[in-house]
């Protein structure tokens, strides 16, 4: 197994994040990333479908976690409660040890319209997964879509606050807060 150095994927991630931090996303070439990682351009695209994907790796798992948590919510749980539980379950993926890397990723993604675009796709995937799981448990359609959308919005709000420079609070707390704020704001629409 070790004809080559191990942890190919991790090495690519580190090299990419390092270079992006030093010189910005678009002035860094995939070839440069693989040079730093001691690999080939071709190998990069075997591990990441995109140059962008290196910054959004592992988001597929989140969809599963959220959907599973919604499916596992108690029968009597309201849509809002089910979504709240899903966010709590997802929080396990956002321990303090991951925050620094998340901050670096966010810093790169920030100004780049290219990358925000990809982030939106990821968010849409999450909300679609939640909406599907809600429908599965019998929530009718305008409400399921709405609850999932609020969940997605709360998720990203919490994520942004979690990666904010001065923040020290945990993701679970921030997510619960963001969701509660949104549901409360519901009363101020009319």
């Amino acid at each position: 197994m070790s004809r080559w150095e191990p942890n190919t994927r991790e090495r690519l991630l580190d090299a990419a994040l390092g270079l992006f931090g030093e010189r910005g996303y678009d002035s860094v070439t995939v070839a440069e990333i693989t040079d730093r990682a001691g690999l080939t351009k071709r190998t990069f695209f075997r591990h990441f479908t995109d140059k962008r994907e290196v910054l959004f790796a592992g988001q597929e798992m989140l969809s599963r976690i959220l959907a599973d948590a919604i499916a596992a919510a108690p029968e009597a749980a309201s849509p809002a409660a089910a979504v709240g539980g899903a966010l709590a379950a997802a929080a396990a993926e956002f321990g303090p040890e991951r925050r620094e890397r998340a901050r670096r990723v966010q810093a790169v993604v920030a100004g780049q319209s290219d990358l925000r675009e990809r982030g939106l796709l990821k968010r849409a995937t999450l909300t679609a997964a939640m909406a599907g799981a809600l429908r599965e448990r019998g929530v009718p359609d305008p409400a399921a879509t709405l609850a999932a959308e609020l969940g997605g919005l709360a998720f990203w709000t919490a994520f942004e606050r979690w990666t904010a420079p001065a923040n020290e609070r945990g993701f679970a707390e921030l997510a619960a807060e963001a969701l509660a704020e949104l549901i409360a704001a519901t009363a101020d629409l009319d």
Copy 2:
């Protein structure tokens, strides 16, 4: 002004939409589009920043229309009412004469994850514009974001229904309906 055929942009749009319909988005080359339009690859990229943008042209104006309508809403109007007025104002851009072309665009965008991504960016731009206009008129932040998000969701729901194969109803009607449904579903969250 007519050293070349006029309506460059329109010709590019028609050529692109035609080819995409015939052979699918990604098997069509920009060079092929410009060949059919009697132009050069370089000229294409002078009119559209992207190959994708040819399918989303003119969405910038929507942001302005929505934001202006929100700004122009009566002082006493609730956030929901302001958003509703904005959707009504935007409906002027979606007359029956534009529906057929919109259907063709939707058909191309549908299966292509690339293009749905761009669509999401456009939607995010619209909601951001609405949220900004709402804040401008004094709506505080959780509510402004929420109302804008609902507006964006209602907008795209209405757009999808408007371009659905069998539909004959007008955009204004569909948008008002979608927004009302979402606001009503707000009560079913808890």
